[in-house]
Amino acid sequence: MLTMNKISKSFMTDDVVTHALRDIQLHVNEGDFVSVTGPSGSGKTTFLNIAGLLETSTSGEYLLDGEDITKLNDSGRSRMRNQKIGFIFQSFNLIPDLNLFDNVDVPLRYRGLNASERKKRIEYHLDQVGLASRMKHLPSQLSGGQQQRVAIARALATSPRFLLADEPTGNLDSQMAQSVMSLLEDINKAGTTILMVTHDPSLAARATRQIYIKDGHVSELTQKNSNLHLVGEA
């Protein structure tokens, strides 16, 4: 599903080179639920951004569904994000001027689906997260937990094979966090591969595999499931 081979990322600021990620080796199989933890500034977000094709690596090889991502141009990466990856953000990242229906519609329009197919998917996924009756509401009219559910519906509407969640419960109270986490577990059980960055050890522990990032290096904490392979510390 996902293979990173010697992926590195460095930034140059004022003649100072910062190594955010160093020679990451990782293989994730389809259906895995991987949590990513680590201290602030350890490279978690950079790792997530590269995994989600939001940034490009400085060096290394990244294969997603067998396709070498490092060879894709911006347009190709956009298409790949739209077709294969779903995103859930800490701040939900819903578009405040659009109602729930239009928010979930955003990635579907980029996919180029026709109106009836889009409508079917939007209604189905909003129903799945329990918000079908509020699809004409604006995000500001919902609680944080409800907004994150809309974001999950938006991420799932394109039927992604790979879901990336960046601190999905970071802005939620514990009850809401549990609810969202349960939803993610259900999604994973339905076959979607999930990579989740979190600060919360208890939530991380619910993943089938835990990755720890520190100073740009990746290491494996636990291995609950044999179909997830962390290829050592780079």
Partner: protein
């Protein structure tokens, strides 16, 4: 093509705009105001340009005139005039010369009313009057299209204060059409009446000769009468061989000045210069109107850029999120261009109504012609293009926002 325009977001963009009306509304109103003013200003410029492009009927490039003012006492004005004309006509390079009472397009001249029947209570057709001799039409360079030129025996002297008119006239085709129901050919040989009762026979029709007043709606209506003014001030109108005007202007001025010290020769002016001076106000007005159009368009363009840049800065994370969700750079760019198109479309619809309204007021207040729908369409298209050009840079900036802004960028 399918990829370029698939998933157009007109509906969501419109709904989002409806939730943030103020900025968009202000830009739409600015576009509306610009269109209203721009279309009417272009229309006024167009009218002036058309006026300036009208042919005067003269051979403007090869003609000039000068003033002769006599100050000497005991002066035989008639003899001096004949001698002056003889000297001018004998100058190599001169085609023809005549004394004339007024200069076309100069702003000052004579006008009378001509009527087809005699009578005090009849309304005549207004016409400019040019008093010339038998070389008049050659000196002016006008084209005789019917009838015949004056003979030297037709020319009569007109003393200062006289109200007597000669029995013959040549009139312009436009004057003939105005007097004879649009058929200028009917005019030839007819007797018309000047000064209510004095009969004058139309012996010739000339193609065109504009009056001295370019803003007059009867500017194409002129008549030539075979008269020479007997006075202490006169003007000579001279036509030279092609390309020799500038060379002969100082030669003739000097020759006349040297030949008689009892008068002053001044105001030696080419017809081209007279035309330029005549339309100076038109040109100045057009320049001002053009400046207003350019400034308004630039202000509108900068307004669009400003609003778009503000909007992009406010929505940086939103744009990053769209990119993360799969929007290509082109799709982000298209979003802002479509948004601008919607705002501009509202603006041009309002502006088109405003332009028509302003034109109706101008037509009723200043007797202008109605606005051409083609001009309105051109104005609408031009402003839509300006809008798209103005938003293209901010849209490009937006398209370059990294998708990583979704996880790192400002809210």
């Amino acid at each position: 093509m399918l990829n370029l325009f698939s998933g157009l977001e007109l509906g969501p963009i419109f709904r989002a705009l409806m939730r943030n009306k103020i900025g968009a509304l202000l830009i739409a109103l600015q576009i509306a105001l610009t269109l209203t003013i721009m279309v009417n200003a272009i229309f006024m410029m167009q009218e002036r340009s058309q006026q300036m492009a009208r042919p005067s009927g003269l051979d403007e490039t090869n003609t000039f005139y000068l003033s002769n003012t006599i100050f000497a006492q005991n002066y035989n004005t008639q003899t001096a005039l004949q001698q002056d004309l003889q000297r001018i006509r004998q100058t190599p390079g001169v085609v023809a010369a005549t004394q004339i009472n007024a200069i076309p397009l100069s702003g000052g001249g004579w006008s009378m009313g001509l009527q087809t029947k005699p009578g005090d209570d009849l309304e005549g057709t207004g016409t400019a009057v040019y008093m010339v001799d038998e070389q008049g039409i050659d000196a002016l360079g006008v084209e005789l299209i019917a009838g015949e030129n004056f003979q030297s025996s037709d020319i009569v002297w007109r003393e200062v204060g006289s109200t007597k008119w000669p029995p013959k006239t040549m009139i312009t085709k436009a004057l003939a059409e105005a007097m004879f129901e649009g058929d200028w050919k009917k005019a030839l040989g007819k007797t018309v009446y000047i000064d209510n009762h004095q009969p004058v026979q139309i012996t010739g029709i000339i193609n065109g000769l504009q009056a001295p007043w370019n803003g007059w709606n009867g500017v194409e209506r002129s008549m030539l009468v075979p008269q020479q003014l007997d006075g202490r001030g006169s003007r000579y109108f001279i036509r030279t061989e092609a390309g020799r005007r500038d060379e002969l202007m100082p030669v003739i001025e000097k020759m006349l000045a040297d030949s008689d010290r009892g008068r002053i020769i001044r105001n030696v002016t080419s017809m081209e210069q007279t035309r330029d001076e005549s339309y100076q106000e038109h040109q100045a007005t057009n320049t001002i109107l053009l400046t207003v159009i350019i400034v308004l368009t630039l202000i509108t363009g900068f307004g669009i850029v400003g609003l778009a840049m503000f909007s992009i800065n406010r929505r940086t994370r939103q744009i990053g999120t769209r990119r993360a969700l799969g929007a290509s750079q082109w799709q982000v760019m298209r979003y802002f261009m479509l948004e601008n198109l919607l705002i501009s479309s509202a603006g041009v619809v309002l502006g088109a109504a405003g332009a028509v309204g302003l034109n109706i007021w101008l037509v009723s207040t200043f007797s202008m012609s109605p606005l051409s729908p083609v001009l309105l369409v051109i104005g609408v298209v031009a402003l839509l293009i300006v809008g798209q050009l103005a938003v293209s840079y901010p849209a490009l900036v937006a398209s370059r926002i990294s998708p990583a802004t979704a996880t790192r960028g400002r809210a």
